[in-house]
């Protein structure tokens, strides 16, 4: 059983977390200007990296959404940053 670090709760069981996709996958803005290709890339295409990856995760128990740097081969976690209150520098903060 792997522990993931929730920025709010600390290390918790992996089964409490939900994968939310690539960090930095921003919704294309401008209704008329968004091409089919941009929309497809946003909705469906994924980086799906083998090795270090920067991803969005949610701790379902407390509802915290955060970005996590994780190696997809050996599952080591480098860091987890809260997205609330402007945390993180990947453009996902609100």
């Amino acid at each position: 059983m792997q522990l993931f670090p929730c920025p709010f709760c600390g290390p918790r069981n992996e089964s409490e977390f939900h994968f939310g996709g690539d960090a930095g996958n921003l919704r294309p803005e401008g209704f008329r200007d968004v091409t089919d290709g941009q929309w497809t890339a946003y909705l469906h295409e994924r980086n799906n990296l083998r090795g270090p990856a920067n991803e969005i995760w949610m701790h379902m128990t407390c509802g915290e959404v955060f970005s996590m740097e994780r190696d997809t081969v050996h599952h080591g976690v480098a860091q987890a940053i809260a997205l609330a209150n402007g945390g993180g520098d990947d453009g996902m903060a609100h």
């Binding site: 792997q2 977390f17 909705l43 469906h44 295409e45 980086n47 799906n48 997809t72 081969v73």
Partner: protein, 417 residues
């Protein structure tokens, strides 16, 4: 000339202490150029090479495999074959595969140990029974075999299952497909390899593709650990590595990779002579010819290239099995393993030319591509030879994601298979 396998050859070798068998395929040096190059020596890659040679008479072909033949997911799956999907496009694809499987042993002169023992997909509530009836109707309309089973029918095929109304997941009935079953997975890879080799295909193992040769905006070949190899058309058939190679070719795919696990019990006397799948408990199982229970379930929840799987899902799968079959509690687990599977948003495969012209794809089979190997090979061979889609592969082109015509089999096909 490859020796044909027959009852007589088996008998003779029995008398000869099995000393007269030859290698089933050659290990040639890679040539500098081929008409068609296939990356990935799993079932789909090898089948593609075989059908290119057999159906289209294209012989100057190579299959490049970084490890050994069938060492990927083809050698790691739970061997279930079936065509009980929901949408017409899917039934056409998986039914084509099942029909080819039915005569594949003779076609390849190789015993793939196809056993059409039937599959029962269980329903555990009245609501699930209604969905089961809908699935059966869809399957029958789409032209494959299906029956709606009630509890007594289930008892007939699963004498050991707990049918008590007090069970945690009481059984109400299920969807039966009688032509479904299992086949020996290694034999499928080896049978295609031997037959393709006999038709002149070069099968090159221990050779990894690292980069693509791109000239004038087209794919012209690949750089491998054993040098450059050029080809007019290249196909990537690399389950578990599709996004990684796509990135080298300069595009992204609608794919997320996950570990999918399986395990086997110690061998026991015949106790389960069909395939049983329960979406509610997240478990499916069959018994191998050796007597082991072969047990599988859903995907791991964490995207991963770590080819071992993690504990929560394994626990879930095994507890689901024991819930349904209390008498299996005394069995010991012998082995557990995982493969990396490429999952698309609609749980359907991708077949077609890639965004890099000259590079074709067969990928995204997720948890269920073993059953599809004969069709995947036939259809990719058609694409490579003619440059055009077969009617059956057209709906599975990558462009469906831009056109919004997804073939969402996530629910229709049950859980991992």
């Amino acid at each position: 000339m490859t020796r044909r396998y027959s009852a007589v050859s088996l008998f003779k070798e029995g008398l000869n202490a099995q000393k007269g068998w030859q290698k089933a395929w050659r290990s040639p040096e890679p040539k500098p150029r081929y008409d068609i190059l296939i990356i990935g020596g799993g079932g789909h890659g090898l089948a593609t090479a075989y059908y290119l040679a057999k159906n289209h008479n294209i012989r100057n072909i190579a299959v490049i495999e970084r490890g050994w033949l069938g060492g990927g997911n083809t050698g790691r799956n739970t061997t279930v074959v079936r065509s009980n999907y929901f949408f017409p496009e899917s039934t056409a694809l998986y039914e084509m595969a099942l029909r080819l499987y039915e005569t594949l042993g003779r076609d390849l002169n190789y015993n793939i140990m196809l056993s059409q023992r039937g599959i029962i997909t269980l329903a555990h509530s009245e609501a699930e029974m209604e969905m089961a009836a809908r699935t059966v109707n869809a399957m029958q309309i789409n032209g494959t075999d299906a029956e709606l089973f009630d509890v007594d029918d289930v008892r007939g095929v699963l004498p050991l299952i707990n049918l008590s109304p007090e069970a945690r997941y009481p059984v109400f009935g299920g969807v039966w497909q009688g032509r479904a079953g299992t086949a020996r997975h290694d034999a499928v890879a080896w049978g295609y390899a031997r037959a393709a080799d006999r038709l002149g295909v070069d099968i090159i193992q221990s050779c990894e593709v690292g980069e693509f040769l791109v000239e004038g905006g087209r794919c012209r070949g690949v750089k491998t650990s054993r040098g450059e190899i050029r080809a007019d058309r290249v196909a990537m058939v690399v389950a578990g590595n599709s996004s990684h190679l796509a990135a080298k070719a300069g595009f992204r795919l609608p794919i997320t990779s996950y570990a999918l696990q399986a395990c086997v019990s110690e061998p026991i006397k015949p106790a389960l002579d069909t395939v049983v799948l329960s979406p509610a408990t997240g478990t499916y199982a069959s018994q191998s010819d050796k007597g082991e229970l072969v047990i599988g379930g859903g995907l791991d929840r964490v995207p991963s290239y770590g080819q071992r799987g993690n504990l929560p899902v394994l626990e879930h799968v095994v507890s689901g099995l024991l819930e349904m079959f209390p008498s299996f509690r005394q069995l010991r687990l012998m082995r557990q393993w995982a493969g990396i599977v490429d999952v698309t948003p609609d749980s359907s495969p991708i077949l077609g030319e890639s965004p890099l012209p000259g590079l074709f794809m067969n990928c995204g089979w997720g948890t269920g591509g073993f059953k599809a190997i004969p069709a995947g090979g036939t259809l990719l061979a058609h694409l490579l030879a003619t440059g055009k889609h077969h009617d059956v592969s057209r709906p599975f082109d990558l462009d469906r994601f831009a056109r919004g015509r997804l073939i969402d089999e996530a629910a229709g096909s049950g859980i991992a298979h």
